[in-house]
Amino acid sequence: MADTEGFEEFYTATVGRLLGQLFPVTGDLHEAEEIVQEAFARASTRWSRLRDYDVPEAWVRRVAMNLAADRGRRLQRQTRALLRTGPSPAVPPASVEAMALVEALRTLPMHQRQAIVLHHLVDLPIEEVSATLGVPTGTVKSWLARGRRTLAARLGDPEEVRS
């Protein structure tokens, strides 16, 4: 059996969904595209093992989340001036409410963004978010609470925020 047999089908079936999950984390569509493609490239080299996993998509998502965190840390090390003159993030058209959410998400630390996306968009239970991010469940709960509080404060109607 070829090492990459079945990879194309897997890629086609999951790439859009993973891109959609990474965009709210990065806030930049091009960055999300690059990260997702890199995660799939890594998956392709291990495909002979990954294809036997129950959910190989979870492995790719985990790698993509780690890559996003690495890039986030690199960006933090850059100076503000560099950030100001760097390329503008690409954003797909969406309703103004969704765009406001992109802006608000960008103000959160990367780990809070990841926890919010994994729990509220990907629908992972706290335990799986904890396994994906490699932190205890209590930490995930705390990140989620803080993230939601910040989003509520930035987006208005704090008492009306519902998950």
Partner: protein
Amino acid sequence: MLDLRERLQELADAATRDGTTPGPAHAIRRGRQHRRRIAAGVASLLLVAVVAGVAGTGQLGNQPSRPVTPATTPPPAPDPQERTDKRRSGSLEEDAFRQLTSELRKCPGGSSIRADLIGSVWSEKYQRLWMVAAKQPPAQGTRFCWTSGLFDATGNGSRWGARRVTSLTNPLTSVGGRSNSDPWVIEGRVSKEATRLQLRFWDGRAPMDLAIIKAGNGYPVDFYAGLFQQGPTSSQKGGWAAQTLTAFDAAGRTVATCRVGLRDDGTPKCPGN
């Protein structure tokens, strides 16, 4: 009411719709390049270890030590995903249209249907060009495809992905967006009846008229765009200053009105696309 899950899903859908990935074959090639690079790295480490070992043995045998030559590995192949400078020769409009045409190739019909430059507007205040381009429906079809972008004077900017219009039931649609250094854009399509489009704000500033771009007979709608900055609005309003959009006909009658603000004040929300 803020529904986090719903808004996250909308963002995810927009990214899925407008994002482009180079395909599984590219991922496989890139994976192989990684493997080759890792193999080359391991080989060079082994070489260094062997050379160091030989040098070490030499020292043990009281032979004069030789300098260890650093192992050389071929530089990694350039990543084909790297983005290049988008600035090209020619006028800003030509450049912008070329970029939009490339987006429109994703529409049904590919490059067999010509892309039309519907129009563009230049903002003196923000020094930005907003441009809209579209593709007419294929023969016997009713759906059409459009895209837009906001460009600075050098042709750099953000362009939206191609949007397919499948329903004309909404007389007024709206999407918003921005890039970090840009003003906010509000744009969409509007019924041909409309001759004036007004954006109202929460924060007490004067309403703003938006530019309507006539699309001609080949298209069943016109397009519009406006640029603005958010004001120092209170956090209760989410920092988002815009609230409602109203289209008027030549007689001053309201053609359509909808909400683009975050707060639900009873006005129906503007649909996207």
